[in-house]
Symmetry: C2
């Protein structure tokens, strides 16, 4: 029996569920949670959603977002089935939740990360799809249930988020056909885009202005970097979340192969984010500093000021920049 | 006979063609021109493309972009058929071209703008589609010719551009099905995205940093504005083109209903760009200053410094901001 059918059978045979997903929730983890919640409640199941971290305000437009609980309300709830979404390991849902949220029957793990460690009793892991929402779409389709506007809104949000609004290479023709079908359910793509990306506090632009003033490049233009120190965060009343996306702007400079951003993380500690275009494996560079990630996007923590941390990372990056043009 | 069939018949019956499109070429005008060029040359037609303005460097990745000529090389060329793409009036291809590029037989006008004045002998105008490229896709499909990778690259570029990479409300389910079919021709969407949007000179970020430092908001946060004066352009060695997109960043501030940007255009003259979210018709505001545009995006020229021009526009905007929340 294929795994889609097996999971639908398990759902059919049980009545109480918990849904969780990775810490620092994003469009795909939230979208897939809410689509599964809507799907299960329509089947008259008893369902609760537990997330370690609160849902960022830009996702509060999603149907049922207010059903998401934090660990404090768990109080011994033990569902028959635990469904873990978009998390490559169980501990990614958070230490406390991963220990306390124990199902009576089975754990179902649904994920699309290449690093998925298949911790579930049943694992629906597909690493060649755009998003967990793409898998949930297929699961709901397979069940014969209609998608409907509410689930379409959640699923489109996750697919949009994990494909960078259809700009990344995971925007396959299948993804576009799914997007078309979701649009046919009556969703408003421009409204969803604006809700997710187009509504940020002005402090974000104030911080961007300060950060851009620290932009520097090597003489050949191949490495570019900037920093967001504690003073800038204080002056603009911002946090680490407000620097999201800045590093992609640096990578977009025409001459740049490697973009580096240092952000004050804690006293004496900097968070380094790295991106590359075509040649340099920034995952390896970050690994030299105890961090990790992918070849084109990676990060690490360094126990130094932003300035000193950048200096160290740039030195190592230069070693990796020797390649044939 | 429907207009698609009529145009395919005209193409069939003639052998020499000129293709033109609007001044200040963009993704859709260039994409549709190059797709039509490729389609016609594969049919062994004699084809030349004439544009008033040069093609921006970020479109130089497109197949056949180097076939585009400027008016200087026209020297009396008179094709049997002139195809004008993505231009709502003939004069939009530029004064000189619109007078000199006279076909022996007929002018075919293919466009999707609501303002299209149907100046052609034959007009394929559809105002409910995303882009001229979407119409050209349907025309090529109708001909029975395969789309192929080269034409798919051009058509996808135009559709991506005119839908804001699938973020605007014109991203219909039909658009996504077409995108899926274009991807199946073997195009690389991430590369196209990066070519068009992800490769800008560092001077653009330097200018952005300076412009953001001038950001101001009304006390209620509903009007936000910034300026790019001549000094900033000089210091960063930038031109008006380098401010593209900045105004959308201002509109994305959560409290903002109206975003205004003033850019030094000529000595003593400022170019005003305006955007709104939901309520204010900025087209009407710009009309008060002799400009125009749409309800949510408009512009005008004011014979004042950036500072004084902003002051005048903000005053008028406040009158329009009286609406029920």
């Amino acid at each position: 029996m294929d795994i889609y059918r097996k999971i639908l059978d398990l759902i059919d045979q049980h009545s109480s569920f918990a849904i969780s997903a990775h810490i620092h929730p994003d469009g795909d983890s939230i979208g897939s949670q809410l689509a599964v919640y809507s799907f299960l409640t329509d089947l008259d199941k008893h369902v609760r959603i537990f997330n370690t971290d609160p849902i960022p305000p830009n996702y509060h437009f999603l149907p049922f977002y207010d059903k998401i609980e934090q660990p404090g309300t768990l109080d011994g709830y033990s569902p028959e089935i635990l469904i873990v979404l978009d998390a490559s390991t169980l501990v990614r849902i958070g230490n406390r939740l991963s220990k306390a949220l124990v199902p009576k029957q089975v754990t179902i793990n649904i994920d699309h990360h290449a690093s998925a460690d298949r911790f579930g009793d049943y694992n629906l892991v597909e690493i060649d799809v755009s998003s967990t929402c793409e898998i949930i779409y297929k699961l709901i389709q397979r069940s014969g249930t209609t998608i409907g506007q509410e689930r379409a809104t959640a699923l489109y949000t996750g697919i949009m988020f994990d494909t960078g609004c259809f700009q990344y290479s995971n925007s396959t023709s299948q993804v576009h056909h799914i997007a078309a079908n979701l649009i046919d359910q009556g969703i408003e793509v421009d409204k969803i885009y604006r809700d997710v990306y187009g509504n940020y506090p002005v402090r974000r632009l104030r911080l961007l202005a300060k950060a851009l003033q620290t932009l520097e490049l090597t003489p050949d233009g191949k490495i570019a970097w900037l920093m967001v120190d504690q003073k800038m965060l204080n002056h603009t009343n911002t946090t680490l979340e407000d620097v999201d996306g800045v590093i992609n702007q640096i990578r977009s400079i025409d001459t740049v192969e490697v973009a580096i951003m240092a952000t004050a993380n804690a006293p004496g500690q900097s968070k380094i984010g790295m991106r590359s275009k075509d040649h340099v494996d920034v995952g390896k560079i970050c690994a030299e500093f105890g961090g990790g990630g992918h070849a084109r996007a990676a990060g690490c923590l360094i126990d130094k000021s932003c300035k000193m941390a950048l200096k160290a990372v740039i030195e190592v990056t230069k070693k990796y920049l020797v390649y044939d043009d």
